[in-house]
Subunit: 96 residues, 2 copies
DNA sequence: TAATTTGGTTTATAAAATAAACTGATTTAT
DNA sequence: ATAAATCAGTTTATTTTATAAACCAAATTA
C-alpha cells in the first residue's frame, strides 16, 4: 500500500538540496545556502549525510584564495531521488 | 523557491494516515494500523498529534463490548494535506 | 480460572533536525 | 599597520521527533 520513504531524502533540507542538484548538476555551498534558506551549520551537516550516503559528491577546492565547496549529485543519488518521488506517489494519489 | 513543508504532515506515518483518511473519510484504529504497518504505540502517538492539530477527529466509541476508535479527516486536515501536496511539488518538479 | 487476545495508552530511548558557537582565512576600514 | 567585519564553512550542543517497549483493562478462549 504505502511504499517506505528513504529517511535520508525525507527531510526538508536534504530534499531541497537534492532537488536543486538534480536540476543544476553542480552548485557551490553559498548558492545552496541561499536557495534553500538554510543556516550554514545545518547545511554543512546535511551535505555530510548526503555525501556519506553517496548521494552527492563534494569537492573542496579554492576559488581564488577562498575555499569553495562544490556539490554534485551522483548516479546513486539521482536514482534514490527518483525512487523517493515514486514512493511519495503512493501517499499522494487519492484512492487507488 | 522551496515552499516550507508542514512538519506535522512531513512524517511517514502521519502522512500515510492522512492519505488513508482522505480517501475513506472514516477508519478504525486497527484498520489504520494494518494498512500502515505501524505499531499500535506509534500509531496512537501520531493520531494524537494529528488530532491535537485539528487535522483529524477521533471518536471513541464501542463496537459491541469492545472499545473502538474511529478517525476522520477534518476540513482543516484536508486543507493542510492539499497544501502539503502542493508544497511538495516545489521540491519534485525538476527545473521549476 | 488461567492464558491469550483485543484495543489501545504511557513511558523510555534512540535518532534527527537545527541553531549556536566556533575556527581560520580574507577583506575592508581607520 | 592593525582592528573590525566578512566569508566559508565545521563542530558541538540542544531541542524535537520518531519509534518501540512496556504496560493496562476488558473480553475471549482453552
Amino acid at each position: 500500500m504505502f511504499q517506505p520513504l528513504d529517511p535520508l531524502l525525507h527531510s526538508e533540507l536534504r530534499l531541497a538540496v537534492m532537488s536543486l542538484l538534480v536540476s543544476v548538476e553542480e552548485a557551490e555551498f553559498p548558492y545552496i545556502k541561499e536557495q534553500t534558506g538554510a543556516t550554514a551549520g545545518n547545511l554543512s551537516v546535511q551535505l555530510d549525510k548526503l555525501s556519506e550516503a553517496g548521494y552527492i559528491a563534494v569537492e573542496k577546492t579554492y576559488k581564488g584564495k577562498r575555499p569553495c565547496t562544490i556539490c554534485r549529485i551522483t548516479p546513486a543519488g539521482l536514482k534514490a531521488f527518483e525512487g523517493y518521488v515514486d514512493a511519495l506517489k503512493s501517499y499522494l494519489e487519492i484512492s487507488n
